[in-house]
C-alpha cells in the first residue's frame, strides 16, 4: 500500500469537492494523500492523459473516476496500460469516498478497491411511499 496514490478524476472541478468532502468527513488527508485532477472543458483527451501520466510517475495509481467510459475513465485505463500498473474504479459517489476514511486499515490495494466498489454499490438506496 506504500506507493499507492489515490486520484479523483472527473469532468470539471467536481473532483476537488470529493477531496474536500473526504476531509469534511474526518479523514486524515496527510495519510491518504489524495489528488484531484479535473478534466478542463477545453482540454484534449491526449493532454489530460499526459498530465495523468506525469503525476503517476513513481507511484501505483488508484484512479477513481466519474462516468464509466468517460474521458477521465478512458485516460485512466490508458495510463495504467502505459505504466504497467495501477487500478481504476468508475462511478465515484459519496458512500464510496466515505470508505476511504479507514484507508489505513486496508492491507492491500485489492482489498481497498473491493471495499470501495461494494460501498459505492450498497450506498444507492431507494425509499418511497406506496400510499400517500
Amino acid at each position: 500500500m506504500n506507493d499507492l496514490k489515490i486520484f479523483f478524476l472527473t469532468h470539471g472541478t467536481l473532483c476537488n469537492a470529493f477531496k474536500a468532502l473526504l476531509e469534511y468527513l474526518g479523514a486524515d488527508l496527510s495519510v491518504i494523500r489524495p489528488e484531484s485532477v479535473p478534466l478542463n472543458e477545453n482540454e484534449s483527451a491526449d493532454d489530460y492523459r499526459k498530465r495523468l501520466l506525469s503525476i503517476s510517475s513513481g507511484c501505483t495509481p488508484l484512479f477513481i473516476t466519474d462516468i464509466p467510459g468517460g474521458t477521465p475513465d478512458n485516460c485512466a485505463k490508458r495510463v495504467i496500460t502505459e505504466i504497467g500498473k495501477g487500478y481504476s474504479i468508475s462511478g465515484i459517489n459519496v458512500p464510496m469516498i466515505a470508505e476511504l476514511i479507514r484507508f489505513d486499515s486496508f492491507k492491500s490495494p485489492e482489498e481497498l478497491t473491493e471495499a470501495l466498489i461494494r460501498s459505492g454499490k450498497n450506498g444507492i438506496r431507494e425509499f418511497y411511499l406506496q400510499d400517500r
Binding site: 477545453n42 484534449s44 483527451a45 468517460g70 478512458n74
Partner: protein
C-alpha cells in the same frame, strides 16, 4: 441518407460520456462504427474502447481502408459513425460515398495554430477548408455537444467570421 437514425460525428475524444450518454442512449443507437487507423491497428486500444461501451451496444473499429471496403455492406441505420478529425470525415464522404444529412462536430480541442470557434471547438485554417468541402457536397455541418443541446450551424458565413480560409 437522412431518415435512418444515423449520426456522423467528429470528436477527438472518440467514445466518451457525451457520446454514450448524450447520443447513443437517448437515440437508442445500436452500433458505433469507429473509423480510425490508429485504433484499428492496436489490439490493446480496441480492448480499452470496448470497456468504454454501454451494455448491448455493438462497437466496430475499422481503419479508413477497411471501412471503404466494407461500407456498401454496412447498414448504418440506428448507428453512430465516429471519427477523430475532419480530414477522415472528408475522406469517408469522398471515397466511400457516405453522404449524411448532416455531420455533427463534437469536441475538437485546442492545439497550436487553431482558432477558438466554440469553447470545445478549435479549428485550423485547413480544417475550415475541409468543412467547406463538406458544405459543397450539400452536407449540413452543425456543432452540438449532445443531441438535446442547441446546435450551432457551421456554414460559410459563420466560418468567414474567423477568416484565413482559402476560397477553394
Amino acid at each position: 441518407m437522412g431518415s435512418e437514425n444515423f449520426i456522423f460525428r467528429i470528436d477527438d475524444r472518440l467514445i466518451h460520456g457525451q457520446v454514450t450518454l448524450g447520443w447513443v442512449k437517448p437515440l437508442a443507437l445500436e452500433k458505433i462504427y469507429l473509423v480510425d487507423d490508429a485504433c484499428s491497428g492496436d489490439p490493446l486500444s480496441c480492448r480499452l474502447w470496448e470497456t468504454s461501451m454501454p451494455p448491448k451496444v455493438e462497437l466496430h473499429i475499422l481503419s479508413k481502408e477497411m471501412f471503404a471496403r466494407e461500407c456498401q455492406k454496412i447498414k448504418l441505420e440506428n448507428s453512430l459513425l465516429l471519427v477523430r478529425n475532419i480530414e477522415t470525415a472528408v475522406s469517408i464522404v469522398s471515397d466511400c460515398g457516405v453522404i449524411p444529412e448532416y455531420i455533427n462536430l463534437g469536441g475538437i480541442h485546442y492545439c497550436e495554430s487553431k482558432k477558438e470557434i466554440l469553447p470545445w471547438l478549435f479549428l485550423s485554417a485547413s480544417e475550415m477548408n475541409d468543412i467547406k468541402k463538406l458544405l459543397c457536397k450539400g452536407i449540413r455541418v452543425v456543432a452540438r455537444a449532445v443531441c438535446n443541446s442547441k446546435e450551432v450551424i457551421i456554414d460559410r458565413p459563420f466560418l468567414e467570421k474567423f477568416g484565413e480560409c482559402d476560397e477553394r
